[in-house]
Symmetry: C2
């Protein structure tokens, strides 16, 4: 079958010299209550807090979490900044002061939800964050025991062997294996691998 | 001054054993036209295309781009998948077929814009992606020459030495240095370091 888009020119592209040291360092999402979010990202997902900065003059704080060797994280704020700026794949959690006192969910998650707007579904661009783990089924079993919202269990839907969980603000987090998609007979929700409700993916939302 | 939130418990948290091999592997955003987006991420930002997958049965394709040593990227699709799943900080660009034929901007960017909804500003959660570079001013000069939209030049606004550019779908990309924020007298837009229009940050949007 023909490719929907011929991408051979992109696979063979030469990296521009000027960009050779660029690092994909962060993705920023706003969170309602940083204490709740930090507990989730650090105690449940296992990220490290590597840097935080307060901007009381502007009314917000930011918290950078990342998977990196904990022993490499420096102690002083200045050293933490320098470390953070060269640490790939940080998640920057932004807290606008006072948001934690507001009722309900606050921020649109990007996936055709009506949060952050009055009643209309938003055609959002952001889809999800994604982590990879040694064993998707074991990870989801643990998440379930920790009270994490399971959006799609590994055997749910049409794509078997991957899952989606939700962070406290409702952002989707895909859970994928480190290698090929492998399945197990039953998942954390008791769904059989030949079960599920047909294909479900949030790409089209 | 007291901290808005005491985060000492999070700095000192022990990583759960079960999460020690977790990788922050991806952030997914939907793009209107993958050819335009791949050109931007690969030729302008210098990412590599490491994997793409077509799902014609579901009407979409995904393209994973990352900064990684190009020589490490395997050739076969199967090997590319395995490589991708252990490559931190991939950006997954999702293309829903046909979106490239629609008029105008399609997807809400998360930053209080009205795209993807009828007239109302959305309180979005996603803020931006962020790259770090050896020289923010030189990077922005090159971006400008390549026709990239500069949302905030390094000397614009109140935070000097960092910039925001826009990708083809309007997603913000922060451009930060590898270390401390340093300034230069003038930036790519001719703005003096003591110029700018006061503080501007998208965190509060």
């Amino acid at each position: 079958m023909a490719e929907p888009l011929d991408v051979s020119e992109f696979y063979s592209a030469t990296q521009p010299e000027a960009t050779k040291k660029y690092i994909m360092q962060q993705v920023m999402v706003r969170v309602k209550d940083p204490k709740v979010s930090l507990d989730f990202y650090i105690r449940k997902l296992g990220f490290h807090l590597i840097l935080h900065r307060n901007f009381p003059q502007y009314g917000f704080s930011v918290y950078f979490v990342a998977y990196c060797p904990k022993e490499q994280i420096p102690v002083s704020q200045e050293d933490r900044w320098n470390f953070c700026m060269t640490c790939p794949a940080c998640v920057e959690l932004t807290w606008n002061y006072g948001s934690e006192k507001e009722a309900g969910m606050l921020y649109n998650t990007g996936n055709s939800d009506t949060t952050g707007v009055t009643g209309e579904k938003v055609r959002g661009g952001f889809g999800h964050l994604g982590i990879t783990v040694p064993d998707v089924y074991a990870a989801c079993q643990r998440f379930k025991e920790l009270g994490v919202a399971i959006h799609k269990s590994p055997n749910g839907g049409g794509m078997k062997g991957l899952a989606f969980i939700k962070d406290p603000d409702g952002y989707l987090i895909e859970v994928l294996p480190h290698g090929p998609l492998v399945t197990q007979p039953f998942d954390c929700n008791g769904v059989a691998v030949d079960g599920g409700e047909g294909y479900k993916d949030n790409s089209k939302l």
